[in-house]
Symmetry: C2
Subunit: 334 residues, 2 copies
């Protein structure tokens, strides 16, 4: 089966399973609370639909991993839903922490219902993720469910640690590229590594194979993030037309920026002087290129992509659908 055939079957099953856990809020009194969760999940409210739901990359990756291990993917649905709920919990809290008005083109939860309820929406999504983890035990042994839980909880510790670093970097300029990896390993790679490791665990992989799958997810996450960071400065929409989509305007401590800060040259000097205006985006991106940040970022993206693919080839020589998803994630251009 190719990726499209898989996703056609998996995506509706993922939405069903997610809905099943959000349906745990079935008391009429908490109806308006439930509406906040279903709005964030992209099912209800203005502009609800596939666009608002996001791509469900994480649950897809989890299910595809189990399938690549030669096992049916349906018994992995509870774990896949758990990870997607955790991802969404982190988005809801992230939007509050970053003061973001929009998520997937729609007003964020805190913008619509204010900060106190938005904190609670994130908390509830995380709680429902734990309820989903318990349900892994319905299709697998309790021991396997507990192993999956351990993998996921470790990823969450890394996720929250990465979030701490990200927030703490906002007010620091004494940073370099060595500060990049601990942050993105936590913020981006940890949860993707949990997807592939849990997918492999529930696909019956032994510990050694689980580790290879874990490494694939880890490097996939890093490659994706580095490429995202590249596009955030040199991508079409960052450079032309919508300059305020540039990571330079957002002040994001991405890999090229940390590279430039570490160099301590003209870029670092300008950065220290305060926020970047839209009309500076072009010249400042060019400055970063001259200091070597563009080449370094490209090479790093290639390196992480190679590491991801090496591990994937080891883990699943015939896992074509996972290769397709990987290529889709790592070959986008804007």
């Amino acid at each position: 089966m190719n990726l499209r055939e898989y996703t056609n079957a998996m995506l509706p099953a993922i939405e069903n399973k997610l809905q099943h856990f959000v349906d745990r809020l079935d008391e009429p009194r908490v109806r308006a609370f439930r509406d906040m969760l279903t709005y964030h999940m992209g099912w209800t409210g203005e502009a609800a639909g596939p666009e608002a739901q996001g791509k469900r990359i994480r649950p897809l990756l989890t299910l595809l991993t189990t399938a690549a291990c030669g096992k049916p993917w349906e018994p992995t649905l509870a774990a896949a839903a758990a990870i997607e709920l955790i991802h969404n919990f982190s988005l809801v809290h992230d939007d509050i922490q970053d003061d973001s008005d929009l998520r997937r083109g729609r007003p964020t939860v805190w913008k619509k219902w204010e900060m106190p309820q938005a904190i609670n929406v994130g908390d509830m999504l995380f709680i429902l993720a734990q309820a989903a983890i318990v349900e892994i035990g319905q299709d697998h042994s309790a021991d396997t469910a507990l192993q999956a839980s351990k993998i996921i909880q470790n990823a969450c510790i890394a996720l929250s640690s990465g979030q701490y670093l990200d927030i703490s970097y906002e007010t620091r300029n004494d940073l370099g590229i060595e500060d990049y990896w601990p942050m993105v390993s936590g913020k981006t790679a940890a949860l993707l590594a949990a997807c592939t490791q849990v997918g492999a665990l529930l696909g019956g992989a032994d510990e050694r194979d689980q580790e290879i799958w874990h490494n694939f997810g880890h490097y996939l996450g890093l490659a994706f993030q580095v490429q995202d960071d590249y596009l955030g400065i040199w991508g079409d929409s960052a450079l032309t037309g919508k300059s305020n989509e540039s990571d330079l305007v957002a002040g994001k401590k991405s890999l090229p920026v940390l590279f430039g800060l570490g160099k301590g040259g003209a870029f670092a000097k300008r950065w220290a002087e305060g926020s970047v205006k839209a009309d500076e985006v072009g010249p400042l991106a060019e400055q970063l290129t001259q200091e070597g940040a563009r080449l370094y970022t490209q090479q790093t993206a290639d390196q992480m992509t190679d590491l991801a693919l090496q591990n994937l080839r080891l883990a699943a020589p015939k896992g074509e659908a996972v290769f397709e998803l990987t290529q889709l994630l790592l070959r986008r251009q804007a």
Copy 2:
């Protein structure tokens, strides 16, 4: 063994176990993050010590329940720590949501480190609670650990739902006593019911006995909350001297207030006109008394206490230490 003998042994073991999970943050880079958690737990920073740690009622209750079931309490420590971490996660987020400056006499986490990091501190405490739940499987079967997880996750769903109701009530005046129970069942009783049910599960109690223990914890929580609500209006520190400690000034939708709002009399009329000043506390409390709220609250506290004790007598005819703790919790006067 009496309560004092038990607590002398249990309290240090609880602190050790809690520390064990917070120690999961062992990367030097997240040292300052770890410090935020240890500050909130009362171990470090200004005025650290027993006062700042709180009474650890929930883990004590969990351990005492296992002991009352005739089993050693040490293998229940991971579960007890999990519940205490969940309680503290809810406090950190509650303080942000309520805009509270002080917790146990010290500046709250968000006051010290601002809102974005405080959200993350609460998240991490909840994540560590999940790591603690996984460790229940070290001293018990994976199946039992998963059952404990299910009980705890259900309590968390109720906790977060109760929190939603509490926040939503702030802007509503169309409320009555029927709106009280769903809120406090979630906010206060659910976690205490999880303490006793999980303590009983790990103490080897069968399902029927677990349910009795659950009911004991539930009514203990309700009795405690109703008494707290009573003292918040007619307690010594609320009525005399520190009038701004009155729930009337805080605008809290406690049982007597909801009773008064439901009556729709002079109290409800005054309440609808806006926040209560310190010098109105005496007359307004008297007004509530005249409308019957004081008697109703006292009778309700007695009723909940009776229900708690009935269940406790059924569950543990000889559980003297649990009786002592219950009396300690329900017979405080100010």
